[in-house]
Symmetry: C2
Subunit: 526 residues, 2 copies
């Protein structure tokens, strides 16, 4: 692990509905992790008039921000980054309000213009998704931002007053009841009217659409419950247009009390979720796309990544997938030399065996990821650490990887040392052939692991040859790799024989002979 | 965490059936954890005659010990402690064999006499069990040790040639078939004959019996499968005499192929498990006890603990329970000041509320343990860390605590910040009243957690008063504890109202007034 001391960033995102504080512990450019989070539904926009924010809303906001500032002080945060978005931006008294907060609480809120708000959301997504070209929709409480991405950069973005709370406030009379047909029509008309003000939407049809924000996350959670999605993270989940249509049909017919009971629904969002969902539907229709990729990373993370990657020309990681694996490995204090040597040996075996398995770079990347992370579970305990590695990967997800890929990598770590590979938990995500792929890659990973059993890179390389009947793996090592031969033979060979349908022979270029090490004092206490 | 660098001990236990190597990473007197393990079934005793160990067995032993020595060298172990037990001790050529191993491999094997073998097994148990007075049975491959414990010290012990492999070798002709009635009778007679040579068995009837060794662990695993035991660790499991009787009935009627299929059976033990099981039954009968407490900690751990506690007069921890909680907390790098302050505040609330809940020291100890460990799960991830804390405790177990207590502590950490306490997973272990206990302690822990939300010991103490209708908690703090009042009110109060059936009021001795902190530079980068 790097010896640098982590820096603790608090990011406060003062939205129109919710105020959130996240604490990220980070070594810039190296690794980051979420360390704490608090959240308060302030509904700053509620009761806003042409004079500005209401007294009640400002009082709630003051009390919450005082608490958040105290929280930062008492928990010893190094840097506080606080932003305010549409409600403050649009309020006649917004600037005055921000001035008072700075004077009285000592907290500097940066008011983000619409395009900046869109920019930071995109920054959040790009740093955790391998998006090159596409559109990003971020639905907040007050506004919704639509942005265009080209060449992994923010091209342009626009904020519309299509936030879930803003639309509810304007169009829904009685939130406790089901929406009326008239209200539904009015909301849809307003959404259409505002989308018309974004001329470039016509240029980006059929693109990749990314969605973020509380409304969209909640829609995804509801769909995850429907399909018993096996991962614990929403990030990377693909929400189908048919699911959005289904949710709208469900939401429009139910009174609040029943909406709150929908599996996956956040109770404090049930009263405002429908108008936001209509925005999703309208944009999907207009862009003619059938699905939306969910990003858990948005505005707050964008503000954070601007600091984390500040040494880059643009604060955007070029290769999300490689970095997200490294980030998890670093956070769990992986044994770097061992993990990297297992990755190397696995890669060598994989590439020599291409004529037999026929896989290419995409599969190799999964093997690399699993090799780097195979032992992460030892942070929980040595016993069953292969199972713990699986759990850790499923818990964190792997930003940039699809759910299917996360499942494959998690199972590869699960089967890196024992057990018969079993895909059952992922049957809804896996494609035909994935079970065969899993067995093949697990066999290769297991070989590499046991060829590096001494954890000291004793095996420099492995040469792979075969006939129709047998497969020979010859270890090339500085001296006779007794431990590695023995462990590979007992623990890896059966699965390799199953994967490649050949009898497996493991031998070594170095002759057995006598061992060369010197006897040393065994009971030496220091 | 302590800044001391962990010392890595390899303990090699050269038994008559199995050779095992465990690597313990330890900061002596502070914390330890298992870091690696290898195991090889060598069956050193097989083919032993009056001339000593057979050539084939010695060749197997040499090759395994060479590998183990290499493994220690390549993985960078600091200290190797290697012991040999009954087969080597009893073989005519045992000393010569050990001499050759030292000369040729550079590994010094200490041959343990029968009483020393018994002693180290007891040392292992005493350091992970709160046993004061009792008997310990350790069944190995060659011998079985029976020991007496008084005042948490080894009093005396004796090795008998009642190991699982030794008995099988002597009495069972065809291991593939079910045991014959004649063989069964002969094994039982031999066991009785040898138990007769331990005169003091008659002095320790009805005592607490502890069991260890592969045979006993495997019997416990089989019983765990039968009853769907909810914990992942065997240590502390209570094996009933009725279960042993049942296993014998099952084992005696089955040929090897079917014995191997018994759920929980280790396939490489199925051929020798029955004679060992008969030893367990015979000793339980003789001591007239109905149950046996399983210890996963035995000879190897005893050898380790002699080093770990070498600064004590006797290498035995006085209070296993307190230390096992600390050990886990230290291994998972707990946030010491926060955890200890939560424990303090929880204790203060608990003791003031005694007239209402009526609990005493045993329950207080569970609350203390949960308070110290409530945040351990953050090592996995901040999200759902309460669930991860539960998982970590269930995975590790808590040496010294009963399974019911481990379950209660795990669930207390699970519910320390949210959720309605639910005992369902432990219904087989919990007693009547445990659900009420869980709700009461979880409510207290949740209060303490949110009263320490700023993680800076801002709340010095809490004063608890009540009437029939309401319960008042008054925070005593250096300045107005705004964050703590707010968080406690929102997150802890509902469960406290449920637990104590009173309306709850949270207030503070310090007046609200203006906040006293100085505004500081928020964006300061260093």
């Amino acid at each position: 692990m790097s010896n640098l001391k982590p820096h603790r960033f608090a990011i406060i995102d003062f939205g129109s509905n919710t105020v959130r504080l996240v604490v990220m512990s980070a070594i810039p450019g190296y690794s980051y992790r979420l360390e704490d989070e608090i959240r308060e539904v302030v509904r700053l926009r509620q009761g806003m008039t042409e004079k500005g924010l209401s007294d009640e809303a400002m009082a709630r906001a003051f009390s919450t921000l005082r608490l958040f500032k105290r929280f930062c002080d008492s928990t010893g945060v190094d840097t506080v980054l606080a932003t305010a978005t549409s409600a403050v931006r649009e309020a006649a008294n917004g600037e005055e309000f921000v001035g008072r907060i700075e004077r009285e609480i000592g907290l500097k809120l940066q008011i983000l213009e619409g395009e900046s708000e869109a920019y930071y959301g995109v920054l959040g997504a790009l740093n955790e998704m391998p998006l090159s070209v596409g559109a990003v929709l971020d639905i907040g409480g007050g506004s919704a931002q639509i942005s265009q991405v080209e060449q992994r950069r923010f091209k342009r973005g626009q904020a519309l007053t299509l936030g879930a709370l803003a639309l509810t406030e304007r169009f829904i009379k009685n939130r406790d009841k089901a929406i009326t047909a008239t209200e539904l029509k009015a909301v849809r008309a307003e959404i259409a009217r505002q989308l018309d003000t974004v001329p470039w939407l016509n240029d980006i049809k059929n693109t990749t659409l990314v969605g973020m924000g509380g409304t969209i996350r909640n829609l995804a959670t509801i769909e995850c419950k429907r399909q018993k999605y096996p991962l614990d993270t929403l990030h990377g989940f693909v929400l189908k247009r048919t699911s959005v249509d289904k949710s709208i049909e469900q939401l429009r017919q139910l009174p609040l009390a029943k909406r709150e009971k929908i599996p996956g629904m956040r109770p404090d969002r049930a009263d405002i979720i429908l108008p936001g969902t209509l925005v999703v539907q309208a944009l999907m229709e207009r862009l003619d796309v059938g699905e939306m990729h969910i990003s858990s990373s948005g505005l707050r993370e964008g503000v954070f990544f601007e600091q984390f990657w500040q040494h880059l020309d643009d604060p955007i990681i070029p290769d999300v997938r490689r970095f997200s694996v490294l980030n998890i490995a670093r956070n769990y204090n992986y044994q770097k030399p061992h993990a990297k040597h297992v990755r190397y040996l696995a890669g060598r075996i994989f590439e020599q065996l291409v004529p037999l398995h026929g896989y290419g770079l995409p599969e190799r990347e999964l093997l690399d990821a699993a090799a780097l992370m195979h032992d992460l579970g030892t942070i929980i305990s040595y016993n069953d650490h292969h199972k713990h590695s699986q759990t850790l990967i499923e818990n964190n997800g792997l930003p940039g990887y699809t759910a299917r890929e996360v499942g494959l990598v998690a199972l590869l770590t699960r089967y890196h040392r024992k057990g018969q590979p079993d895909c059952a938990a992922y049957k809804t995500l896996f494609k035909g052939g994935d079970e065969k792929l899993l067995i093949c890659l697990a066999a290769i990973l297991r070989l590499a692991e046991f060829m590096e059993r001494g954890r000291n890179a004793a095996v420099d390389d492995v040469s792979v040859t075969w006939t129709d009947a047998q497969l020979r793996l010859t270890l090339i090592a500085d001296e006779y790799p007794a431990v590695e031969l023995w462990e590979t033979e007992r623990h890896a060979v059966p699965l390799v024989e199953e994967a490649f349908k050949r009898r497996v022979i493991i031998d070594s270029l170095a002759p057995p002979g006598e061992l060369s090490e010197q006897p040393k004092e065994e009971d030496d206490e220091e």
